[in-house]
Subunit: 428 residues, 2 copies
């Protein structure tokens, strides 16, 4: 491990000038005074800040140009076991934090300077001491995977884990999850656990907890408050609502999409506002809040024989032949506009229908209703047997199709399920 | 043709009560007085309005509850040849309007009640008499196709048509185009005609000109003003900027996306503001306006052997084997987050690279930069030979790859082109 891991340019020169290394306990004076452990930085970080982990567990970035004085308090690295442990308050409700990996559960890799998913749920809990004031948080590590590596078999395990705790003492469950495929897992849980009587919050962070701008703590605290205070049930994605640190949004898990690669408020509810906004002083419920009343009868299975076909000019229609011959049972189209594909595909759509595949239409516009009766093209496709899927977002439609296929006895039964509003996937 | 084509419920009862038929010339009194032809409506229209085509050429919707008096002025349908012809003013600049089809060039089909792309460019021009006050507009019909049926061979014909007029008397060219695949055509023209010295405006409408809320006239008028007044060059998509009738946006044609199935302001610039806003009183240029200076050397060719792979949990990695064996030369990935695909695909990514395919990474988040050095997964994929494609939007990346493949002598040359900022496709 380099003694200046991740630092470069001005910030590296600054540390060398003051004879400081990553891991040192230092005292810093700017307009305020701080004491904390000098943390490593990432290879893509700017060179204008140093990062300190304060005794509170928080990381802060300090601009080196504003530092009036810096000195060594101890050259020993503070070990994990010295971190403050959360206290237990028997008057508080209990929640469970299940970690699956991702940035929220990641820490810097001292060897490569990169980020790896390795922090345990217990460490995560200890890193955010505010959690202990909201609830008694039990923690459990289910996986340590970046979410791009999670598969439908992982969805199943997460759903089974949640289901095993539904009748327990927990008021709600936090699922710490990578943001890359969080919306897919969120949709999978929404369908397989439809009607669940407790609230579940999928929480991620866009910046890891070692970074000064990390959203990990804020999102976790908001999720815990949401579970304890909101008096609701169902599956939600709980992530930053804006660029400031004011608001965290609780999105309906079937209507949420990651719409930016790096912003902390990357997650957005499509075609409406989030279900709840967690503010400093209160939790605001969407006045249009809607809830599908259902008995809780978990159906936890997924069948991946569903193909996603995004239509674009130049798409080789033979891809449809591959899909038919490879044994797929369903196709979700990401059509253009109100739900169209080019005439060039019609013959193959007809063939797929004859083979008994379920054919569902969504729009690559992402927002807005599919309406297939407006234009000739849409009516032609309806006649060929394509089912319009309202304003469901394409990724949710895909997950729903895997779930409906995995839990239906026939394609007819699957089609019926695809048309039902199971978990707020149709918002109009 | 039904005498009440498209009318139903309250509005049908209203017409029957007053003995009126579609095609009648009627006088209507509300708070104002109108005289116009009673137009047919669509099968999905509401039943609260009737639609009149005024002598000015505009259609308006009149709420039947607000009608104080309605009477027949003439029972004869006004024929097209009686419509006012635009006058020619030799002091005005000349522009060309090329029609390719789509809603903007569509009219109601009196037989089915649906919308078909059939209006000629000349009719379009005559329908919007304001155009004649801005420029002398020559018109030409290139195709009459819904844009979901346009293919890269059509892109080529549109580009060649524009190129044949670059050195002519036209100050600019309007391409009337369906909105379904407008962004694909716009990107194709941006790359193949990079450096074009005149402005080109792709214009569509989300509601056909027979509908009371049609955006066809506003968009066309704004496009004509933009071509004549803006003193710029390059390819732009010119569409409604908000829900009101105040503003029309001119989007950089490589950074625009249709983000709603039906709203009039469905088109949005991704990761920034539009290049220009056409307001009633003036045309505002984006203060961050940027322009890539290039000599005009049109390269008009597209090779469709490019596959789009959108990664999602459960994607069968064998799709990659199909792509390799089917003879594709390039893959554009729509990865997750900062530009990832699951480990399950790594082996096949390696195989595709060995076979010499170009592999480019974009993000299904749509907005934001691809950054593949932050996480282990990204670095693994870089090592496997995937090229990160900045903040290009996935659909534009796909079109660019078809163009780069069609105009390069080798995959190495293609790769070089893919990394170049040819037409503002990278905005950061």
């Amino acid at each position: 491990m380099s003694s200046h891991s991740g630092y470069r340019g001005k910030s590296l020169a600054f540390l060398e000038k003051h004879n400081l290394e990553v891991g040192n306990l230092v005292k810093v004076e700017t307009d305020s005074a701080y004491s904390g452990i000098l943390m490593p930085r990432y290879e893509y970080s700017d060179d204008k800040h140093i990062v300190l982990k304060l005794k509170s567990g928080y990381n802060i970035g300090v601009e080196i140009d504003k530092i009036k004085k810096i000195e060594l308090e101890s050259s020993e690295t503070i070990k994990k076991e010295n971190m403050p442990q959360p206290r237990v308050d028997p008057s508080l409700p209990k929640i469970l934090l299940v970690s699956t990996g991702g940035t929220i559960a990641s820490k810097i890799d001292y060897r490569t300077g990169g980020v790896t998913p390795a922090l345990t749920a217990a460490e995560l809990n200890a890193t955010v001491p505010e959690l202990a004031k909201i609830a008694n948080v039990d923690t459990e590590v289910l996986f340590s995977e970046y979410s791009e590596n999670l598969l439908p078999e992982h969805w199943k395990k997460i759903a089974e884990k949640i289901n095993s705790h539904v009748k327990s003492e927990y008021k709600g469950i936090i699922i710490a999850h990578g943001t890359d495929t969080m919306q897919y897992t969120a949709a999978a849980l929404s369908f397989s656990l439809a009607g669940i009587p407790i609230p579940i919050a999928l929480v991620g962070s866009q910046r890891s907890s070692d970074r000064p701008s990390s959203d990990a703590a804020l999102n976790l605290i908001a999720a815990a408050r949401f579970l304890v205070e909101s008096n609701t049930s169902g599956i939600y994605v709980v992530m930053h609502n804006n660029q400031s640190d004011d608001e965290v949004a609780c999105h309906w898990a079937t209507r949420v999409r990651k719409n930016h690669t790096s912003k902390r408020n990357a997650f957005q509810t499509i075609g409406g506002d989030p279900a709840f906004i967690v503010k400093r002083e209160k939790i605001e419920k969407n006045p249009q809040f809607n809830h599908i009343q259902k008995d809780y009868m978990p159906k936890i299975n997924f069948d991946t024989r569903v193909a996603l076909v995004k239509y674009y000019p130049g798409l080789d229609p033979k891809i449809m032949e591959h899909i038919i011959s490879a044994g797929y049972k369903a196709i979700i189209f990401e059509g253009t506009g109100l739900g169209h594909v080019g005439k060039i595909l019609y013959e193959y759509v007809g063939k797929a229908k004859k083979k008994g595949l379920f054919l569902g239409m969504t729009s690559q516009c992402i927002d807005g209703m599919v309406r297939m009766t407006v234009y000739e093209s849409g009516r032609d496709l309806l006649n060929l047997g394509i089912i319009p899927l309202g304003n469901i977002i394409p990724e949710t439609a895909l997950v729903k199709a895997m779930w409906a296929l995995g839990t239906s006895k026939s394609i007819d039964e699957m089609e019926k399920t695809m048309k039902d509003n199971v978990a707020m996937e149709f918002s109009d």
